[in-house]
């Protein structure tokens, strides 16, 4: 049992995360310094966890979608819609829980709509979710009436900037969501069924799996996660920005899932590793920022790192590092 756990820890994603963090430390010696202030932790590492939370939350939902051989391009736009819903409702005087539940409900509905297009109308996922990716921002602008809606509701702000046991609230939410979703897919047969659909939907249906229903739910979960991320981001800046909230984050989320080892061709997936993927991305962003590189370098360095990480995961690297690696991988499957 112990050996198994060690083997699991030695996966390329965690190694990559450790590597990126070490590079950050070399560039910025104070990187691992953590201080306690006002009942919460502060420091660059905490910052990575806090800033990485929205993409991590998106990646949790995106993992399921990608495991079914799909993709959800609309999550960034859904973030904007849900942030707008929460903000305008709070401003209009609704109680905070009502506003949050409404925003989550809207996100879920957006996701179910995507699922309907994919599972019932058989539209290719990339096109089906493109609809909301484009329309979503328009809807968000309609809700905010074109302006940035700011609010001062303390409960809502707490979701974005508060802390729990010293940890940033956003990170706590991401962690709880990750644990819940992981338990949901691993302790039930849902994970296996999602994989089966991703590998061969026709065969899965003939084997008696409700592939249509599962697909709709998987997209629904992705929309729900986007709503959570949208609320967190809006609460963080105390306002809903229809134009910029979650902009391009769908791409970061897809990247996080892929770094986490889930193939775009569907099949095997891991929710925790997708979250690690999101942390790797954020660690790179933060590292470049704190190390004092000019921000222009940011995207280029990031691209280089990503190529490196994906290369480490590729079968070719496995061959270069010897047969053992492949054998272990095959054995652990």
């Amino acid at each position: 049992m112990k050996r198994l756990h060690l083997e699991r820890l030695a996966n390329p994603q965690l190694l990559a995360l450790v590597g990126v963090l070490l590079i950050n430390w070399l560039l910025f010696p104070n990187f691992f310094r953590i201080s306690w202030q006002d009942g919460r932790l502060f420091g660059s590492v905490i910052d990575v966890i806090n800033r990485g939370a929205p993409v991590a939350i998106l990646a949790i939902g995106m993992t399921g979608v990608i495991a079914t051989k799909g993709v959800d391009l609309s999550v960034g736009a859904i973030m904007a819609v849900c942030g707008a819903v929460a903000a305008t409702m709070v401003v209009a005087g609704y109680p905070t829980p009502v506003a949050v539940i409404a925003a989550l409900g809207v996100g879920l509905a957006c996701g179910l709509w995507n699922g309907f297009l994919v599972a019932v109308l058989d539209i290719q996922p990339i096109i089906a979710t493109l609809v909301l990716m484009v329309a979503g921002r328009g809807i968000a602008q309609l809700i905010t009436e074109g302006s940035i809606v700011t609010f001062n509701d303390p409960t809502l702000i707490f979701i974005g900037t508060g802390s729990f046991l010293g940890l940033p609230m956003a990170a706590v939410i991401a962690l709880v969501l990750m644990i819940l979703v992981t338990l949901l897919v691993r302790r039930t047969a849902i994970g296996l069924f999602v994989q089966a659909i991703g590998v061969n939907r026709a065969a899965a249906s003939l084997a008696g799996i409700h592939s249509r229903m599962l697909l709709i739910l998987v997209y629904g979960l992705s929309g729900f996660c986007a709503a959570v991320a949208g609320i967190v981001v809006a609460a963080d800046i105390r306002g809903a920005d229809a134009n910029n909230s979650g902009l391009w984050l769908e791409l970061d989320a897809i990247l996080a899932v892929v770094i986490g080892g889930t193939s775009l061709l569907g099949g095997k997936f891991s929710v925790p590793l997708a979250v690690v993927g999101a942390l790797i991305i954020q660690a790179m962003n933060t590292g470049i920022l704190v190390s004092g590189f000019p921000p222009e370098f940011n995207l280029v360095v990031k691209a280089g790192m990503i190529i490196l990480i994906l290369l480490i995961q590729s079968p070719l690297a496995g061959q270069l590092f010897g047969r053992r690696a492949i054998v272990t991988k095959a054995a652990s499957k």
Binding site: T188, Q195, A203, V327, A330
Partner: protein, 505 residues
């Protein structure tokens, strides 16, 4: 040296995948001007050997020799420069480009740096004539029959390599006339001194064109023999290492009228698919379904299983009126279905053998009663053993198994759900003789245990051997039900070919 007459030779080839030895010191010699059949069950190592001879795989031991000289073949392109060309079962050409382009792709005749289409088409015409093809080289390749495309692929391979031609199941998707045509081409090429390796599942075809035969079994070389010294039984014995006997029984066991009725389909049908049919199925009965391709056999199976639900008629299960609107309904009533297209609709290629076996049972149990790993291993192990599935490990991806073993996995998947009624669509198509026999044995065993089955098959001998009754289909309807004594394949053929108005008893 005695073996210099080999154009292409493999000596002591070893190939290991993980901890599975795919080829164990296999020798193989190919002479100029011969057609050499390579035989073996699926999983015997034929494809692996071919992939090594064409440079797609590198051997872990042994040597490949071309004209007596050891060579290292880096990849299929490199093998081509050594004169080795391959034509696969599925034509690997570009259907939306012209015949001429397909023939010369990659080395088109050029003029001033541009492709000289006129010369290319002229050359193509001359080349095609040699193969007895008189067609317009500028026409799209995809507009021609598979046989023509196959010959174009051969022409291209011979043109590019010219010493050794490897034909990997070239006849799998051809009809009788097309096969004859292909064999003429093979005969001509052989006479022109080409060395040809021929891989097929059809023994008739082996005897029709081959000079020598090499048999592999479980990764080992069994023997290389001159074919004219062998009988068909000899070849089968070499392949299996044992005698198999299909009983030529011609008396159909009539439905034991004492046994209970399990299913009663009345006026069951689906618009634009299958005309309404009546079918009563008793426990312990195998209903054979015969008919040509496209006669509605598969459609009938899908309707019964709810994959394409019926839109008219009724069904009674155990005497109770039931509705089967989708596959889940069917499975709840104890149905199982092994589809015809194993790869597209049967296996979950990237998932493990274990997951492939338990998936239907898990589907039946639902989302929240998950089988844990130990339970999965136990179930998969039990059925894997009962069906003699040959897999290095239950955790290996099912796509790495041979076709016959994949079929056994799918059968195990349904047996794990403890079904009352199984629908098998072409369960023995495209699988090796050993797995074939195993599946036929399983059908007989399940029938004796009281399971009801519908088995669709094109192999009429086989249908006659295990069926209790035979339903004959044509033009999307059931046209006859055969039962009683003295049923043989001839009678089925007669029924299929009979005048539609004549009723058959």
């Amino acid at each position: 040296m005695a073996d210099t007459d080999y154009v292409l030779e493999a000596r002591g080839i070893i190939k290991i995948f993980g901890n599975h030895t795919a080829l164990d010191a296999v020798d193989f010699g190919l002479k100029a001007g011969e057609v050499h059949a390579l035989l073996g069950e699926n999983g015997a190592g034929k494809s692996t050997l071919i992939k090594i001879l064409t440079g797609a795989y590198q051997p872990d031991g042994g040597a490949v020799l071309v004209d007596g000289k050891a060579v290292t073949l880096d990849n299929p392109l490199h093998a081509q420069t050594h004169g080795i060309g391959t034509v696969y079962q599925e034509v690997n050409l570009l259907p939306n480009r012209s015949v001429a382009e397909n023939l010369f792709l990659g080395h088109q005749p050029t003029r001033f740096g541009l492709v000289d289409y006129r010369k290319m088409e002229k050359d193509a015409r001359v080349l095609l004539k040699r193969y007895g093809l008189n067609l317009d080289p500028s026409s799209e390749l995809g507009s021609h029959s598979v046989a023509v495309q196959q010959i174009v692929a051969i022409a291209r391979a011979v043109q590019l390599s010219g010493k050794v031609l490897i034909l990997d199941e070239p006849t799998a998707s051809l009809d009788k006339n097309e096969v004859d045509r292909l064999f003429e081409v093979i005969g001509d090429l052989k006479r022109s001194g080409l060395a040809i390796i021929f891989i097929t599942h059809f023994l008739d075809q082996v005897f029709a064109v081959s000079d020598r035969v090499t048999v592999l079994r479980n990764g080992r070389l069994i023997d290389t023999r001159q074919l004219d010294s062998l009988s068909r039984t000899d070849v089968v014995r070499l392949m299996l290492g044992k005698d198999i006997a299909f009983s030529g029984s011609t008396d159909l066991e009539p439905a034991n009228s004492a046994s209970e009725v399990l299913l009663d389909f009345k006026g069951y049908g689906r618009k634009k698919s299958v005309l309404p049919f009546d079918l009563t199925i008793h426990k312990g009965e195998v209903i054979g379904v015969a008919g040509l391709l496209g006669s509605g056999r598969t459609e009938m199976a899908r309707i019964m299983f709810g994959a394409d639900p019926a839109d008219e008629g009724t069904v009674e299960v155990n005497g109770k009126a039931s509705a089967i609107r989708n596959t889940t309904d069917a499975i709840r009533h104890g149905f199982g279905f092994c589809p015809e297209d194993r790869k597209a609709e049967g296996i979950l290629g990237d998932l493990s053998v274990r997951e492939n076996i338990i998936i239907a049972l898990q589907g039946k149990l639902g989302w929240f009663k998950a089988l844990n790993r130990d339970e999965q291993m136990e179930i998969a192990g039990k059925f894997g053993e009962a069906m003699d599935i040959r897999a290095a490990s239950l955790d290996m991806p099912v796509k790495l198994l041979s076709g016959g073993n994949q079929q056994k996995v799918i059968l195990s998947r349904w047996l794990a759900t403890d079904p009352a009624f199984l629908i098998l669509d072409e369960p023995t198509r495209g699988i090796d003789v050993g797995a074939h026999a195993e599946i036929v044995r399983t059908i007989n065993r399940l029938r004796d245990e009281g399971m009801a089955m519908v088995v669709i098959s094109s192999e009429l001998d086989e249908v006659v051997a295990y069926s209790s009754r035979i339903v004959v289909m044509r033009d999307r309807q059931v046209i006859a039900e055969l039962r009683g004594k003295n049923i043989n394949p001839g009678i089925i053929v007669q029924a299929i070919a009979s005048n539609p108005d004549e009723a058959l008893a």
